[in-house]
Assembly symmetry: C2
């Protein structure tokens, strides 16, 4: 009996030790510094009952951009790799693509020429590869691709190229009663098949750009068919619009990396009470990429000025992150 009690006591001590070790550093991939401290200070402030800054659990909404904020976006948006792979795969059914831009350039492996047509060319390629099937068929296409396709530089699955420190922020916020949402310019149905597994974010908390769908009966079975028509582009001023549409509540914290996220951060920060805004600044040419003010992908120019003026947190990836990708050092 006495021995059993002793064992129980020891077990209890060990359990509380490991718990306090966990509690001690939920952001273990972050170097100690202003960025990390600002995140912790914010969370402690809004979760402290009785404090004037306390935010009730239902109002703890945090929104995250995806490309460049939760996973990498170089040398081009990962969804563009998906588009090009789909075009190559579908080319057999479209012999006319051999002669038709931008498809011909994709099939010739000339990405630069394929993208030379700008937005119009991009839209044409997106529609050719994202529409014409049911939502269930598209989900399977994305799942098959995302579990096999590799990044040309790292030879890793794209879902391995997520930022470990940001995964920790997501978990830390959720452990403190936050609901975490993605608000991305990327395709909503391109993200949903894998965000729950990779980020712990369920489909109903994923918001993004979309095309229209149509309800149809096929052989007595209802399906939703994806139409080649833009429904909403979830970028810049579109982000607060979809936040209101899907969440209906202003976030208390918002995370982005580019000027495309600026309106989301402005919308967040001008709510009443304590708010938190963070920009990830890509400053690490060695472990990731270094870009910002002049980049065509993920430009952070106006946003960087506004962040400084307003005292938002700016993460210096090179100095603030101990680890960038989860696979480092493995």
């Amino acid at each position: 009996m006495k021995l059993a009690k002793l064992f129980a006591l020891v077990a209890l001590c060990l359990a509380s030790l490991s718990l306090s070790a966990l509690a001690a550093d939920p952001l273990s991939s972050w170097n100690d510094g202003k960025a990390k401290q600002s995140i912790v200070a914010f969370v402690e402030k809004v979760t402290k009952e009785g404090s004037p800054d306390f935010v009730p659990v239902p109002e703890r909404i945090a929104t995250f951009d995806n490309d460049g904020t939760l996973w990498a976006e170089q040398p081009m948006y990962f969804q563009a790799f998906f588009v090009f792979d789909r075009i190559k795969l579908l080319a057999q059914q479209h012999p006319e693509w051999r002669e038709k831009e931008p498809f011909a350039s994709v099939l010739n492996g000339d990405v630069k020429a394929a993208l030379a047509g700008g937005e119009h060319a991009l839209l044409e390629m997106a529609m050719a590869t994202h529409a014409g099937m049911t939502t269930e068929e598209f989900e399977k296409i994305v799942t098959d691709w995302i579990t096999t396709a590799k990044h040309p530089k790292t030879d890793r699955l794209f879902t391995e190229m997520v930022y470990q420190p940001m995964i920790e922020v997501l978990a830390y916020l959720r452990a403190n009663g936050f609901k975490t949402f993605i608000v991305s310019g990327g395709g909503i149905e391109f993200m949903r098949p894998w965000t729950e597994k990779v980020y712990g974010i369920p489909p109903e908390q994923v918001i993004g750009s979309s095309i229209k769908t149509k309800f149809e009966m096929r052989d007595g079975k209802p399906v939703l068919v994806r139409l080649p028509e833009i429904n909403f582009v979830d970028d810049k001023a579109g982000k607060p619009v979809t936040i209101q549409m899907h969440i209906g509540r202003r976030p208390v914290a918002a995370f982005g990396n580019s000027d495309g996220d600026l309106q989301m951060l402005q919308w967040t920060t001008t709510g009443q009470g304590v708010r938190f805004c963070l920009y990830v600044h890509h400053t690490d040419a060695k472990r990731e990429w270094a870009y910002g003010r002049k980049s065509s992908i993920g430009r952070l120019n106006k946003g960087l000025d506004e962040a400084k003026a307003r005292g938002w947190t700016v993460v210096d990836m090179k100095n603030d992150w101990k680890v960038v990708f989860p696979f480092e050092g493995k």
Copy 2:
């Protein structure tokens, strides 16, 4: 010491008794019968671990129509009362309405004439009363109205005219790991200000018809302005479309009361595994209203046939519900 122990024991017994009493009937406003039994049987089936019908918690999505399913909808949709009240209030700023239909009829108290213009007239009235302000201003307008306006027949607040048995279903499902969503033809921002308090459904789980909004800076402060332009009508074939857009997952249970909910129920029931569909049939002319196959509001005709053919649950309000409204007998 002994006495203290005895007290503790008694307290424990009482606590467990009241807990088991609660557990014994989470649907206490339902008469015992097929409808109630079908709800309980479904929930027990999908929550039983190891059973082939088990549904993991993240997939436990239940969608509810609002008008006629969670609250009453006679003698006209409650949002129409809001529209008419707004028109009367705004008339001072719109002297031209005295001469202009459908506004003139509203101001003369002739509801029938106001609605004679059909969908076009309704749309015109909706835009005149729902657009032109910021989202925050609209939220305040709705809150002010919903906390003061009374139903002409019962003289009760509209939020008191919710169905007690359905409130119990919502709570019962949530207690069993379900996320409950509203999917309504009513205005999304007309519902959000009060659904959390009344139904326990937070804004991010409210889906409905919407108008477009636009992000703007006003005196350096970002606002979302409501535009007089339809974004989406969330009825009939539109319901599965918005379920996919907002939730991104097929519900395992769906609740409606009219043909406008039929596609939502079809979409739900044709997913894999056990599914549950329920129609509320308004059969109680005394405590509520009796209508269905031929009603212009909340018509349940095709839906009733399909429910019978497919074995969906059809609630006979008169016989299945002990209580309709929470205020009964008070």
